[in-house]
Subunit: 356 residues, 2 copies
Amino acid sequence: AEVKKIAVIAGDGIGPEVVAEAEKVLKRTEELFGYRFETEHALFGGIAIDEKGTPLPEETLAVCRKADAVLLGAVGGPKWDNNPKELRPETGLLGIRKALGLFSNLRPAVVFDCLKDASTLKPEVLEGTDLMVVRELTGGIYFGEKYRRDTDQGQEAVDTCAYNVSEVERIVRQAFEIAQKRRKKLASVDKANVLETSRLWREVVNRVAPEYPDVELEHVLVDNCAMQLLRRPSSFDVIVTENMFGDILSDEAAMLTGSIGMLSSASLGEGSFGLYEPVHGSAPDIAGQNLANPIATILSVALMFRMTFGYADAADAIERAVADVLNAGHRTGDIAVDKSKAIGTVAMGDLIVAAM
Amino acid sequence: AEVKKIAVIAGDGIGPEVVAEAEKVLKRTEELFGYRFETEHALFGGIAIDEKGTPLPEETLAVCRKADAVLLGAVGGPKWDNNPKELRPETGLLGIRKALGLFSNLRPAVVFDCLKDASTLKPEVLEGTDLMVVRELTGGIYFGEKYRRDTDQGQEAVDTCAYNVSEVERIVRQAFEIAQKRRKKLASVDKANVLETSRLWREVVNRVAPEYPDVELEHVLVDNCAMQLLRRPSSFDVIVTENMFGDILSDEAAMLTGSIGMLSSASLGEGSFGLYEPVHGSAPDIAGQNLANPIATILSVALMFRMTFGYADAADAIERAVADVLNAGHRTGDIAVDKSKAIGTVAMGDLIVAAM
Ligand SMILES: CC(C)[C@H](C(=O)O)[C@@H](O)C(=O)O
Ligand SMILES: CC(C)[C@H](C(=O)O)[C@@H](O)C(=O)O
């Protein structure tokens, strides 16, 4: 098989630990399916600040650009929280999204059977919840002009939120296409009763909608969406929205599943290239203690196989192995009911590899 | 007693029905406590568009300006949803907030005992939830410059989010003061890892915090807050945030209590003047059918008594009457378990008045 190049960014906190388990899965996939991967590690986030003086070194970008896909662990931690902006891990995260043109962030929020009770929502409300937030990732208020200026009322800070037609159109089309492959329902979330960017957004959605006649479209105001996610989570299929709303709603959606330690995400650009990472953060409090749950990162590999490489067989094998290990009762601390029986990061990775 | 002037804005949908019940409560308060109210009705929202050609007629503003407080039912409905911006009810809502200088929106989210099971959250998670969202209401992206321009990528829409130090300081101080009268915990919500306005916000919070040493302060990122509201709702006391985040989070918080049909809100400016309204909307689907729950509007009157007039005795009487009527088992359709036993808007109002 053709060699696929994967840039591996372990990052900070539990990042290196969970990524190490995912790399075992890559290796096992080569053995089982004959696919071939070439991994190259790169520094990013806090560790890159410490070692290179910048969260996103040029070499790291170069490694990503040469690769077919990127696997990212997690970045950030209290150590860098009070740094000036250019020396913060988040700045690297925004930078890599922009530099690699990753305009679309897919965050599936599903309920894992074995974690049904982990949610704070009633099981009967959660029943059947399986939604995907498609978040615009390189536009809006995240990337608009920002500045301070002096006024009579003291200093003023300004953020600018801008969207143009093509930025909206490409993400909206992608969301329609994803909906076509799922339950054919799309909720477009905006604040069109207040924001000009939302009015443009809604115009574009309405203009392209007739090209996807098989998809049932609803427009939902962002405040109402925050409520409906709680009231009727299972009624959503695909939710598409702009960057800032997507940040908030995808976290709300992930949390309500109770399965946040298990959720993976993909950030995509124009072609098949993608960056894959767990939804959870760097969890500095448990870093380096073999306590982290590697499943979200391992499932990110499965997502990469499916979306970037088209290796559905290997993706299936990984997902099935994860399900088997969970069904056999194995749990890391975050998802264990009886914490005394919890297994470590490495043991969980080994079990999944063995179950493939 | 001094005559208190109340501007009454019934608005659209169920607005007139719920406001009518609240007015009975005003009248009963006069009889019981000797307070004196003078009410003046004014057109606002959809009905004002229909009758006056604008959602916020000058006369309405004049009536509000002469008054000591405003009681608002609800505005909006599908009839006006596709109107141009100047002819939409929401535009009136933003206009009245700005014109009356109502920079602070208080939305308590509490769980009513009789509605414990109405929430989609597990009762044990909800237990003890009693929080207040303090939302900045006249700044940020809601009121910043908005425009379109042509670019190579098609039309571009722009919204501007701006905050100056004094806008942030006044709302933050108010939130600290509210926290001092409650459980002395304040969560300031921002997106300081991305937004310049959030960085200014956080600086101001940190600068004034030492003046409120009895209040325990935490900074929470907005995406994390959307998650923590689900995970540990009862751990929050007061949440203070900017306009757009407050819109989303206050709706999420209200919905998770399961009591949204019972929640009242206050919008305040510099002095004691305030605008009081239920958190719920105009519910056009059930309008004019004597089906609406008037309790949130009646409790908005109690909030007005407490916050604007200092009539704690009358506020207590109203709140106690509502509790008594609910404890006696009376329910409107929205909160009834057995819908066949539900009573109407007018009957609920009458029972509460009788119980005062
Ligand atoms: C760390 C932060 C800049 C980032 C974002 O807001 O996009 C994170 O919350 C995320 O959702 O990936
Ligand atoms: C109707 C709309 C403009 C308004 C807002 O966003 O402020 C509403 O959602 C609210 O929260 O009062």
